[in-house]
């Protein structure tokens, strides 16, 4: 009797023509040109569709539409063509390669709760008029030049906006403006622009600038209670006329030359000002004014300007405590054995 199939090699070939159409379905296409042709449905509960190679496409008229849906496109040019909807709760759409796009013209909506949209490669973009607009929204842009185009709103509570690469920017008229806002800028020259009237104005606000040349421009306010402002790299500065003005403020400057500029005020109760690296300087007219202030200068050559005391003999310790918060000669050296070596500059 002749062979039923004349297969090459040691093994008879696997049988073909198998349908995958039950619950739970798990369809994984790992090689190009993997495709799901028209009119092929993967449509049951706990559907999982994973396309891992390029030229993977979901053709027109194919729906992936159950709960929960997971659609992962990992290679370029991955596209979601016209009229394909991913529309259940919770939706997860992950685009990991460049040229990954959510087209504006196709009316693709990601509109449920909670939405998660992750764009990991450039030029990842959210085109005009695409909405990511539910509660809670999470928008993560991990590559440059990641942008949020004009007219795109991330506007619910709580919002989380994370920009992790340089040239990350918040364009004009983009608002991040609800309670429990978190704005994290991790690369230079990350900026909160002055001219754009960007406000970070809710309670509690957390503003973290982690790279040099990080700055808070003039007239940008960080003004709620409790505020936490952390500047972790050198050249970190608080510009003139920047106010940090609530109770339980904490200002931490961790790199030199950390400076508090002229006319900057840090003035609530109780304030904690930590300067950890030399040469830390206070400009003139910088106020650290409230009850139970703690001023710690941890490095040599730290100086306190007018109306304060400075150590002359740096071998004798460099800490002191305030007795009278009005300043002047009410400061007492911690190491009394070295008292003679401390002198007021302007007693």
């Amino acid at each position: 009797m002749a062979w039923s199939t004349v297969d090459i090699g040691a093994y008879k070939a696997a049988a073909g023509g198998t349908d995958v159409a039950t619950t739970p379905d798990n369809l994984v296409l790992t090689e190009y040109p993997a495709s799901i042709a028209n009119n092929v449905n993967v449509a049951t509960s706990l559907d999982t569709l994973v396309l891992t190679e390029y030229a993977a496409t979901i053709s027109v008229g194919i729906d992936v539409a159950t709960t929960p849906d997971t659609l992962v496109l990992t290679e370029y040019p991955a596209t979601i063509t016209s009229n394909v909807e991913v529309t259940t709760t919770p939706d997860t759409l992950v685009l990991t390669e460049y040229a990954a796009t959510i087209s504006t013209v196709n009316n693709v909506d990601i509109t449920t709760n909670p939405d998660t949209l992750v764009l990991t490669e450039y030029p990842a973009s959210i085109a005009n008029n695409v909405n990511v607009a539910t509660t809670p929204d999470t928008l993560v842009l991990t590559e440059y030049p990641a942008t949020i185009a004009f007219g795109v709103n991330v506007a619910t509570s709580p919002d989380t906006l994370v920009l992790t690469e340089y040239a990350a920017s918040i364009a004009n008229d983009v608002n991040v403006a609800t309670a429990l806002d978190t704005l994290v800028l991790t690369e230079y020259p990350a900026t909160v622009s002055l001219a754009n009237d960007v406000d970070v104005t809710t309670s509690p606000d957390t503003l973290v600038l982690t790279e040099y040349a990080a700055s808070i421009a003039n007239n940008v306010n960080v003004t709620t209670s409790p505020d936490t402002l952390v500047l972790t790299e050198y050249a970190a500065s608080i510009a003139n006329n920047v106010s940090i003005t609530t109770a339980l403020d904490t200002l931490v400057l961790t790199e030199y030359p950390a400076t508090i500029a002229l006319n900057s005020a840090v003035d609530t109760t109780p304030d904690t000002l930590l300067l950890t690296t030399y040469p830390v300087t206070f400009g003139r007219d910088v106020n650290v004014l409230c009850n139970l202030d703690t001023l710690i200068l941890t490095a040599y050559s730290a100086t306190v300007n007018s109306q304060t005391w400075v150590p002359v003999d740096t071998t004798g310790g460099n800490s002191w405590t305030p007795v009278d918060t009005t300043g002047g000669n009410s400061w007492t050296p911690v190491d009394t054995a070295q008292a003679a070596t401390w002198v007021p500059i302007n007693g």
């Binding site: 039923s4 040691a10 070939a13």
Partner: protein
């Protein structure tokens, strides 16, 4: 001719190492004074290898290897032997009551499904065999690997630079076993060194080298082994430096045929042994992953229907294969070489059903 069947098991078999079986059982199978007898059970004992066995009718012979619960095999037989004699060991005192007058023998080693680590490997040679008196090494019923690497009987050696299984004996059949060279400085897994009238038969076997130490250390190497047949087998050497699946002697009066076998090489699928530019035997329905050395320019006229992943393709009706997951193989990286439905391998060979009808798993093709 009657098969003298012994078992190879990790425990509880007639033998636990193939090398011990080979040295204990080695004999002249073709001699008229070598015979296998059936019996109803051993009293006393055990028998001692090589001891004199005396029959109640006056005949005698020498015990070969280990007696089984149903058979004994003797050589140097002489004198009168009747089919109901009691055969008693002169040294051990063990005895059996035989139920026949003895028959010409072939030997069969039935292997259990386990990894038999025989550090120095085995050399099947020094016997006298023939077309009617041959050696068979195969899995016991139910211990077949089913085409899955490591799933059945695995004969493994670990000594550096030592061949795992050397078939120097003509008329030896290897059916459905796996041979693995696992030495840190690996050598050839299956080496067929029998030459004149070799008639070695390799079917549904898997041979692999884990850590080859030289280009010559293929999973398979075949000398000019006359009338040797290889089919439905898998030869794997994926090493990135010395990954040669097989070294085949292409010269005339050598191998008879190679059908439906996979040569999986990390560097090269086949390295021809000689500089002779003609390969005189048919190679049909085979798969070659990695280049084939291009020494041979002229192949047997029936060679064809082979698939190649790289350079050195030969013969008619060639196929180019892709080893990426799921394209032509089920999962190449994990030793799943089953052709996928609709791929380059499925349905594109030629029908050899006149010669055999199964595949490496034992399934009907």
């Amino acid at each position: 001719m009657t098969d003298f069947v012994q078992t190879l098991k990790s425990t509880g078999g007639n033998y636990s190492l193939m090398s011990t079986w080979e040295s204990g059982q080695q004999c002249d199978l073709t001699s008229a004074t070598t015979k296998v007898f059936s019996h109803g059970g051993i009293t006393g004992g055990p028998f001692t290898d090589g001891e004199t066995i005396n029959f109640t009718s006056g005949g005698s012979g020498l015990m070969i290897g280990v007696a089984t619960t149903t058979q004994i095999m003797l050589e140097s037989l002489t004198g009168t032997i009747n089919s109901s004699d009691t055969a008693t060991g002169a040294t051990s005192g063990a005895s059996v009551v035989i139920s026949d007058a003895g028959n010409s023998a072939s030997v069969v080693l039935e292997c259990d499904a386990f990894i038999c680590t025989d550090t120095g490997g085995a050399d099947i040679s020094g016997w006298t065999t023939g077309a009617s008196n041959y050696i068979t090494i195969k899995p016991a019923a139910g211990a077949e690997h089913g085409g899955v690497v490591g799933a059945g009987f695995v004969y493994k050696s670990t000594n550096n630079n030592a061949v795992t299984l050397d078939i120097g004996q003509a008329y030896t059949q290897l059916i459905g076993i796996e041979v693995r060279n696992a030495a840190a400085l690996g050598a050839i897994a299956l080496y067929i060194t029998a030459t004149t009238s070799a008639n070695v038969f390799v079917d549904k076997c898997i041979a692999e080298v884990e850590n080859p130490n030289a280009v010559a250390d293929g999973a398979l190497r075949v000398a000019r082994s006359v009338d040797t047949v290889i089919r439905n087998s898998l030869f794997i050497n994926k090493d990135a430096t010395y990954g040669v699946a097989a070294m085949l002697d292409q010269r005339s009066a050598g191998i008879a045929s190679i059908y439906n076998s996979n040569f999986i090489g990390g560097v090269q699928s086949v390295d021809w042994v000689s500089a002779v530019t003609t390969c005189s035997y048919p190679i049909i329905d085979c798969i070659f992953v990695g280049p084939v050395e291009t020494v041979v320019t002229t192949h047997d006229g029936s060679t064809g229907y082979n698939a190649f992943s790289s350079t050195g393709a030969f013969g008619a009706n060639q196929k180019t294969i892709v080893t990426t997951f799921g394209v032509d193989f089920g999962d190449y990286a994990n030793d799943d070489y089953v052709p996928v439905a609709g791929g380059n391998l499925a349905g594109f060979g030629t029908d050899l059903s006149a010669t055999f009808t199964d595949d490496i798993t034992g399934a009907t093709r």
